[in-house]
Symmetry: C2
Subunit: 371 residues, 2 copies
Amino acid sequence: MPGNSQRRRPLWLDADEQALGVIDQRRLPHQFVTLSLKTVDDVIHAIREMVVRGAPLIGATAAYGMWLAATNSMGHAPDPDHFRQEALRLKASRPTAINLAWAVDRVLGRMETASTAQVAVDLARHEADAVTREEIENCRRIGEFGRPIIEELSRANDGRTVHVLTHCNAGWLACIEHGTATAPIYAAFDRGIDVHVWVDETRPLNQGARLTAWELAERGVRHTVIADNAGGHLMQHGMVDLVIVGSDRTTANGDVANKIGTYLKALAAKDNGVPFYVALPSSTFDWSLRDGVADIPIEERNPEEVRWVQGWEGEGPVRVRICPEKSPAANFAFDVTPGHLVTGLITERGVCRATAADIRRLFADKIKTIC
Amino acid sequence: MPGNSQRRRPLWLDADEQALGVIDQRRLPHQFVTLSLKTVDDVIHAIREMVVRGAPLIGATAAYGMWLAATNSMGHAPDPDHFRQEALRLKASRPTAINLAWAVDRVLGRMETASTAQVAVDLARHEADAVTREEIENCRRIGEFGRPIIEELSRANDGRTVHVLTHCNAGWLACIEHGTATAPIYAAFDRGIDVHVWVDETRPLNQGARLTAWELAERGVRHTVIADNAGGHLMQHGMVDLVIVGSDRTTANGDVANKIGTYLKALAAKDNGVPFYVALPSSTFDWSLRDGVADIPIEERNPEEVRWVQGWEGEGPVRVRICPEKSPAANFAFDVTPGHLVTGLITERGVCRATAADIRRLFADKIKTIC
């Protein structure tokens, strides 16, 4: 489903159902370019290079990666070792988002029962479709559970604008439909609530300025791009009613890994009494971890992403260096916000506090299956 | 004194002493370009467009702006009303840095006593020279008082690297010589302390990535450029021993206005037990204010500075747009860090806590003159 028809999605099966179509998110907002992924290597490259990004979308893309592993094995008997090998490669493409391993293992689990190559293809396709469908439904429900938070602020405000700050992109581009952090915003907007979004630029890759701003503009939601440095000042001056962000991995205790810089906004929210919510489907929980700061692996990416900024000039995309030629840089992609800074987690089962007990109350069945 | 001879300065009198020479700091680190300011309008333009920036340098530049007001009035009897008018225009060029008003008023005070145009020129020149000389000496002393903080951390570390994080540029480019935040770093480095600096990029104008990285590279101080988002993560993982920043205005209670985003780093430092110091000459105190968040005027600059990033590509400077064409932006240039988040103020008279009582103890004489 290319992006110009119906409701856009960042992921679809090509018309002949032989390849996975994706929006090349590195090119947005300046160019709308789609790519066709035909092999596991294509998928790994797309995830690693952030053609696709965002925890739920990485999960769904990797799920279809397993389907491509199966389609590319047609003509041989299904080889569980090969599928396990491909699953390992896919899971290693990026380290922080837990949805990736969750989705790949889920599809692999189905494929291992396949008696023929065609059955492996069908099972993989079926399971990847199910992952995708469920994540869309999870995001829709996150929107429904999160919307009342914004409506309540609107009422308390006598209907005046509710100002929401978000960091990075946890919109439909990151999640197939609705988004996680954006789902409550879109749901409130669709109900006529006057909402305005402060969009953190989100250096180094500017997913806020590039992707969130683009999504919001397309939907007609009022928004303002700000430097990542600005949120604290806005909160000190009563210009932010609510922060909502997504997550790449959340521990059983409620510690939240998300795009680097999220923790700084959580500190500012706490210091100024601004509610700080994290929106996530249950696929983003890592039930095996408790202490997020100590235990969540944080990806370190190429420092060139910090030393250069990609943008648009005149008629084309241009990358400019923003520091001295020989100055080194470091590029940590995520940080961890301790649960005590989080007002609430907005999940597909409702809103809960970011504590072990509250999370367990909502997700006891899921926790049991891994313990 | 152009930049390639001796110890560089960002401000000098041209050889014929008819104009003020400055480094065009917008072009660094990619190009070393100097400009010659001949009129008050030139000076106002240079301050407003951030050809020169940094509170102490803005003060010194504006002081020489008053000297240019005098030189350009030669041939008439000195007109105090005209000088006051020019002083008002200079003081209005940027709103947050208090050094600007302090330096201009100081030179104006001397000029008002002039009986002839030549005397006005001489008095203005004398006072602007004095402002500059004193600010250099203040920065040198800030280095001497701040150096033991770094030496102590080095000793506690068994001589291993001391990691200092800084935000924006409070180096010699901002201060004529030594810098404020960088003065203790340079002083420790000169004594052979193993020091490494985390350089916040400092969007939107990237004074960290452009100017601080350049200064440190020129001096041979090890440094690493990071996104503004990264500092919290580094502090959570014990990778920052100390934060030192400058200030554009500090209240009598110790609330510190500095480049937007400073407050977020102060919160992270507090949360992780990392010492957070502010280095400033006494010209940066605003003795008339107490509550910084409520009372310090925060400059709002052109949103295009957020929507575009200036950098270098191939053979020349290029500006790239980093958000959708129609997405608006907001550009607050400073924020205020409440004194209770500040471990200490490093001044030319020593280090004190950021409290009204401790500040008064060091600067009783200066406070008295305005109360």
